[in-house]
Point group: D2
Chain length 369, copies 4
């Protein structure tokens, strides 16, 4: 019931509906002394902004963030940071149609059962627009993690049947690419495919991959609060995600132990000096995806998540209405034919919130500290 | 750091090391009035017991559970239930070898970095034996869920390259099958394969599938605490799990919206009576895996998780020791060539703990209640 | 660090500084279906509004609350309710003086040590103004509790040396009384005293009493989460509170067991019908203050808390400045000579948040439910 | 419902009933590397042991603690520490009488309402014996805090009408004194009084004071999680406590601001060196009790709590039985005529758990850390 709160130390509470007055987030637990202004957040928020290209919702939103508290003289004070984004595009639409039936693939049906009724305007609280607040909070986490050398690379790995060729991997292409792919060639093929599917009034799914470098080893706990378990929770909490895997992921079913284990190696000759367990050790492979026994192992954390095709499609579908009648619907409105490109930054934001929280949680693990 | 606690209302704290004196769990938040005795737990615990057949650790453990508190006159009192399982097999082995190096695919390395040292006897807290306590707690959750009509069907779906044929699905075979497969034919092929791999001193991975029927719709919350997010956290917290997916899972990348959406239908003629949103509605497909917008939708909850091959293999591997030297090791001892069969009950236990917790959390969602 | 979050089920996160842009609160976990509008909150908020009479801060604030989310068609939706109160009176004062030294009795010194610096404008986050957000959230809790028949009576019991005479207790006087006392005669004496102390540039403390009727028995848990322990936490979290006691409170030190125990009695002849443990039982005394073994016992919950004199006084005091010099200061500005009257509603709001949370937590305590 | 868990980082879950098989506690979140053995805990546990003198229960219990997990090579490993104390004195008494009625001043009545029934043997979970587990956990917290220079002085300040004379304060007397008073003269008078009251089959209340030196300034958070609020929650969670106050406590009602504020002073000439906000500053008074704005201010933390007279008295009292009849009872058995002396160590243990938890929580408050 109180499911809009995330994190233990860097605690985030989001609020707001798609077509309400505003959306926002309060962050309780941001360390004091971080230089922070609205631009830091706005830049990141702009990455998920609608209306940027032909594959993104044509909704005209500025998504202008305001900081209402927690900053003084340009720095975080250690007290709650309240961020607000007013909804500019609250058109007084006619919602009577969408209010009357249950859209397939949406939360309309479960919302009505759980709460007795729902805010049906634009999907209400279950709209993808809810992720705006996550991204705003994630921007702060990312800035803080950046100070500690943690770096994220997140991109579309697959769109429909088109998967990137790792040999063509070009990191610089991600931010420019309409589909957030690091492989221009595959992106063009996927775009062609998208145009075709959109013409059929249908939509497409895909896979996002996230790579996190510079994570200090030892984050995460050995039993329930494993780092990968916490990341899985965070990523699966994004509406369209249907699966997550780390390192070899589902492919481990096909591997033998000798193929899946990552051997350890000494980086260099340590005979003349004292051995440093962190700096002098490496793995040549990373089948584990950077996590061993639930704790970061110092190598790149790698995970992938599956994003379902946009459920709102203009193609005719069968469903039921509130009167208990079988009907046929065609969802109108401004809907992306693909969720993946805009979800890239949401996945990254949730991963950043998780890593930062695990880092703050990790303090005090030993008496020596 | 405090990562051995699970759940919000049905709160579970596990403790104990593989070769310590005992393992156990305390459950804080079990509703009062449930008939419960040690047999209820023992029966379920026996399903993951080692030494049952040739594919399971030959460790000789009774895993006899004792209830130390929280029960009076055969019923739960609402106060903490403390369960203990003494370790019978604490052989005073020579651990000097395992203490000296870092096993590939294990938590040895990350444990030393995080905590400064580790209990290396049998893997300490990161041993699969830790899951005994989860299963014991899960047995109580399952008994309680059973009263509400919730039923679990959990089995090995794939072992190495051998995946079950759903046409041969025979639920009754699961408990008898050495590999917990519901398809005898595939199981025999997988067993042959396992014998071969074991002879090569290697190990095999696989996939477990869990189906949960009878879950009341509306469990889980629409934003962070989605039911699938919570299940993902629970299942990914099991040591060997490297990925989880719901319904179509990673296959959504290949589907169109019109293929992935589940249409709603009216079960029967409702024209003569008032329409019941729960009883009169069904989906003909279940691509979503029983969860819509993070809330259970009343259909079967379906997820799969990937289990890595046993990391402890007798085959030679390279690694490093505590002196900073590159070495070659061959892990000795009683190790399963496959984790999957014994993990089936652990996956089910963690799913049961999650569903029960979500059910207790869901109370008070509306004022009418 | 993340200390601005309160409650487990009815979760409240407050934010905002005294002289920042706005203050607010997000409530995550309000049950769906409660009729709620801004007036419900505004009426209650007006009770703590400054500038109402000569004993309250002469600050000119409207404290106009806006609901930004969580309400649809006049009812709570079960999703987060975001409330905001803009600060109208952010005068661009000269804060250089207050920034330069540490006010006795304030958090200036501890804030600087903990966070490295502080928002010194009007006390920042440690201002009494922070309680506006608590009162706003409390208004919602009170409305919900009212539906279940829970009623609060909160008033000033003592101001300076003047304690009310229980024989003169007149509930209707509380809301009209400048000092929120239920005894007009004592209030007049206290007002005379206050005028005198204020002329001396000094301030006065007092005691607030809260009585809660209609609380269902069995709320609270028998070990750590006792209802009185949770109330103590809630009330002691109000800045000026220095102590709390239940029922006989500190007077128990002077009582014998036979004097302090409350005997149970049967209300009426139950011989002809089945005995109802709740309706047919009463205590003739209430030394326990309505809580037995940490659980509500069905009688009136009674507690008192001690409120310190306003620390900001115009009278000269010694202190130190940021340069490490001993100085003498006289605190200027609009400060109440007494905190008690305006704190009455804050105490009530925190008690309401606690009782409601315990009520929602209590659901699912037995299997029968 | 899940109310047997305490703490956020140093998380403690207690379990066990007075006459069950055993009592215990699991600590999830103890930092790794602390030297710890059973003696460390046993010594402290012995301070609350029954049967030590004529004012303590004549129950014959060894209260022998065993460590079941979390320690390796004499040091904490960072994983859960499980402690168990077997009940030796589970006499197969005849409990039919106590089962049949509701003892005044006890939780019998509220337990039956909340849970539907109760473990009536010796008070079950609501017995004072439950605090054994708190003391065991507290011993570990105290050892850890000792390494950081935090010191506790806890004693009986008042017993019945006899309050210690601070001029006679002799710390060394506390541990030897039958009543844990630091003033031998007052203790003798109180003992005489106790003998008299006991002969009347009655019992006596009192006040415990706790002083905590060496607490680093800045612990606790400025809004809800104030250090004094957390201490109030911890101390009020002890069964017999009816009130708590800090520094001047309830006396603030009688003070003026100029009397209650603590002025700051520079300790010495700082003109020649850089000013140290912690080392160079002191207060000459401590009316605040060591907490300012919810954060420790570096001076001694001082609180007092009121302990009610033992509710179990042999003197006749009226009450009701389960059949709905008014009856008269005289509670038999081995009961202390005064709770205070044995509660001293429980109060100290709960304070230690709170301070340690606040200290671990405080890590990461600023970016510089």
């Amino acid at each position: 019931m109180a499911g809009s709160t995330f994190g233990k130390k860097f605690k985030v509470m989001t609020w707001g509906e798609s077509h309400g007055q505003a959306l926002g987030v309060v962050i309780d637990g941001c360390p004091a002394g971080l230089m922070l202004n609205e631009d830091d957040i706005q830049k990141y928020l702009d990455l998920r902004k609608p209306g940027q290209n032909k594959y993104a919702t044509q909704r005209n939103e500025d998504d202008k963030v305001e900081i209402l508290s927690g900053i003084f003289q340009g720095k975080t004070t250690g007290t709650p940071i309240s961020l607000i984004i007013y909804n500019k595009s609250q058109r007084s639409s006619d919602y009577s149609e969408i209010a009357s039936y249950y859209r397939p693939g949406h939360a309309d049906y479960t919302f009505d059962i759980k709460y007795g009724f729902r805010d049906y305007r634009g999907g209400g609280r279950s709209s993808g627009r809810e992720t705006t607040a996550r991204v705003a909070a994630g921007a702060i986490a990312l800035k803080l993690l950046g100070l500690f050398g943690v770096e994220f690379t997140t991109y579309a790995k697959q769109i429909g049947p088109f998967e990137i060729n790792m040999d063509n991997f070009d990191k610089s292409n991600i931010s420019e690419d309409l589909l957030r792919m690091p492989d221009k060639e595959t992106s063009l093929k996927a775009q062609e495919y998208l145009d075709k599917v959109r013409a059929e009034k249908d939509s497409v799914g895909g896979i996002i991959e996230c790579r996190i470098d510079g994570v200090y080893p030892g984050l995460g706990d050995p039993v329930f609060d494993k780092l990968d378990a916490r990341l899985a929770y965070a990523i699966m909490s994004i509406g369209a995600v249907k699966g997550i895997e780390f390192g070899e992921g589902f492919n481990v079913a096909n591997l033998k132990g000798s193929e899946n284990n990552d051997e350890f190696y000494i980086n260099k000759d340590v005979s003349n000096k004292s051995f440093d367990l962190i700096k002098d050790v490496s793995k040549k492979t990373n089948h584990s995806g950077g996590v061993l026994g639930g704790m970061s192992d110092g190598s790149t954390i790698v995970f992938r998540c599956a994003i379902k095709p946009t459920p709102s499609i203009a193609k005719e579908q069968r469903t039921i209405n509130k009167n208990g009648e079988d009907i046929t619907v065609s969802i109108k409105g401004r809907h992306d034919p693909i969720i993946v490109p805009r979800a890239v930054v949401v996945v990254e934001a949730m991963a950043a919130l998780t890593i930062l929280d695990a880092m703050l949680e990790n303090m005090g693990t030993t008496v020596q500290m």
